[in-house]
């Protein structure tokens, strides 16, 4: 027969209290090396006490207390590594481009869906201009009817840095939704991609139809290539999640989902800073005629080429 419960508690309690204190100090980050060793020793002792409690005092408060204590200590001891700055650098130098290359097929599929949407939207409007009433929002149609760019007005009311940050957060929200809706069996992502494509295609076609093609090109050229690439990449991430749900392969569905989710979110997190950068271009360069159309076009192509060179080359030469 084991020790009676009150005696067990009275004997072991000092160690548990010390461990609790150490854990609190560890969370506050004021632990010295020798205290860290004590923490490790005390954790092992507490784990042994837990095993003892499981056998002899199952279901009592002591058992639950030890469960919780060991759980906290376990969390503190088996923490993920903390070198955040180095890890962030490594993420952008290696992990992000690699994750993208490994899942190129999904990005390709998402590009296909997006292009499909653009073609659909453009075809409808070009073949039957009245279709624009269905596809293009009314306030945009008003602008186009007046042969004005709707983006010209933005700058006159707000300073460009505010416009840029507004655009950045707006675009980030779009890519987050595109990715996150992948959890709805991928259908959400498919819908978002096609929907955005149709929107873009129909507005583009209406502009061309109304003779505003050059103006639209002038606005889109500088930031379009990178921005559309990023939306397509986020779409690829959403499709990965959807695929894990529909066809988990040899793993149980839950595990496949977690595995894919970790991989897919890399694509989204990796895109975020580039989206912020391109929003600066969209806020400062794209509107107005400070830069000529061809300069914007060249800038856009150069940025797009740079972005894709980075995605396809970075981290390739270091061991695969």
């Amino acid at each position: 027969m084991a020790t009676p419960l009150p005696a067990f508690v009275a004997r072991r309690r000092p160690d548990w209290d010390t461990l609790k204190d150490l854990l609190a100090r560890q969370r506050a980050g004021t632990l010295r090396l020798e205290e860290l060793r004590t923490l490790d020793v005390l954790y092992r002792k507490a784990a042994a006490d837990l095993a003892h409690a499981q056998t002899f005092y199952a279901g009592t408060d002591v058992h639950r207390f030890l469960n919780q204590l060991c759980g906290q200590a376990y969390g503190a001891i088996y923490q993920p590594p903390r070198e955040r700055w180095a890890a962030t650098l490594a993420f952008f130098r290696r992990d992000f481009p690699r994750a993208l290359r490994a899942n190129g097929a999904f990005v390709a599929a998402s590009t296909g869906l997006f292009v499909l949407g653009i073609l659909l939207g453009a075809l409808v409007v070009l073949l039957e201009p009245r279709g624009a009433e269905l596809l293009v929002p009314e306030h945009l149609r008003d602008f186009i009817a007046r042969k004005e760019m709707w983006t010209d007005g933005i700058l006159s009311v707000a300073p460009p840095n505010a416009v840029a940050s507004g655009i950045a957060t707006n675009n980030l929200t779009v890519i987050i939704v595109t990715f996150a809706s992948g959890i709805l069996l991928g259908l959400g992502t498919v819908f978002t991609l096609i929907n955005n494509g149709v929107h873009l295609g129909s507005v583009g076609a209406l502009c061309v139809h109304e003779g505003m093609g050059p103006k639209l090109f002038d606005f889109i050229a500088a930031h379009g290539p990178v921005e559309l690439s990023i939306i397509v990449i986020a779409g690829g991430a959403g499709l990965m999640v959807g695929q894990a749900l529909i066809d988990p392969g040899e793993l149980p569905r839950g595990q496949a989902l977690v595995l894919r989710g970790r991989e897919a979110v890399k694509l989204v997190l990796g895109c975020a800073p580039f989206l912020a950068l391109i929003a600066v271009v969209e806020g400062f360069v794209s509107p107005g005629d400070f830069f000529s159309s061809w300069m914007k076009g060249v800038l856009g192509l150069a940025l797009g080429a740079l972005f894709w060179t980075y995605l396809l080359r970075a981290g390739r030469d270091e061991l695969a």
Binding site: Y43, V62, R64, Q68, P80, N161, A180, S181
Partner: protein, 254 residues
């Protein structure tokens, strides 16, 4: 006392003991969420008044800054909408201020702490869990999954565990007064469940209805006392005496 009703997260540690942590249900999660959005709301009330002060300042002193503050505003909206949860969870070890107050924590399904990737996934999927409004999808998913996980948790491989406040003092608290009956000699030993039962009664006794207090106390004395007729009468004279006797009975188990 028994937590069979709520599910547990079972973890096998490298030390070869099995941890079993209680999972936080939908109520805890809602409370923590409410606290968090109230905090954010208060933050925005303050920010809003500061902002309007800056924009409409009478002296025109801050006018040059207004473009910059607008930028801050936009970035701030984004941060509180999307980044708040992930940043807090990564920095505060799986907790946001609301979760800390309620005493729940995000962990991976194997019990280890969450990293940036998991936290980012579960908080990005928040937008889908919110559909079509008021966390309908998330709540449905929490009700249907065994460990009360929303879609974001399923995708990230995380769940929320509860931290209880457990009072160990009750095991070692000294008896209030000298017991009327010191040590009845022939006594069966108390099993841990019995100790737990008596202690649970002693903890709750002060809040019980007088009748229930006496009735339960009597039952426990009859069951664990092993007393003669006279001793029993002295012990049962008042609730204080009964409880004092029971406490001594537990203490004698050392």
């Amino acid at each position: 006392m028994d937590s069979a009703a709520s599910p547990n997260l079972d973890v096998a540690t490298p030390e070869r003991v099995a941890l079993s942590l209680p999972v936080a249900g939908i109520g805890y999660r809602c409370l923590a969420y409410l606290i968090d959005i109230v905090l954010l709301f208060l933050f925005w009330v303050v920010a809003y008044f500061t902002f309007t002060l800056l924009v409409s300042d009478v002296l025109g002193f801050f006018e040059g800054l207004s473009g910059f503050t607008r930028t801050l505003m936009v970035v701030g909206v984004f941060a509180t909408q999307w980044l708040y949860w992930t940043v807090c969870e990564v920095v505060m070890g799986g907790q946001t201020p609301g979760k800390r107050l309620i005493g729940i924590r995000v962990v991976r399904v194997d019990g280890s702490p969450v990293g940036v990737l998991e936290s980012a996934v579960r908080n990005l999927v928040r937008v889908v869990d919110f559909l079509p409004g008021l966390y309908a999808t998330g709540c449905l998913s929490m009700l249907l999954t065994r460990q009360h996980r929303r879609l974001g948790d399923l995708l990230a491989g995380t769940l929320l565990v509860r931290e209880e406040r457990i009072d160990l003092d009750k095991y070692t608290a000294p008896a209030a007064e000298a017991p009327a009956v010191s040590a009845a000699s022939s006594r069966m030993r108390l099993a841990p469940e019995d100790v737990e039962l008596i202690l649970a009664f002693l903890t709750r006794a002060p809040q019980l209805e007088p009748a229930a207090r006496t009735r339960l106390g009597t039952k426990l004395v009859d069951r664990y006392g092993g007393l003669g007729e006279e001793e029993r009468a002295t012990v049962l004279a008042s609730p204080q005496a009964t409880e004092s006797f029971l406490r001594t009975r537990v203490q004698a188990e050392r």
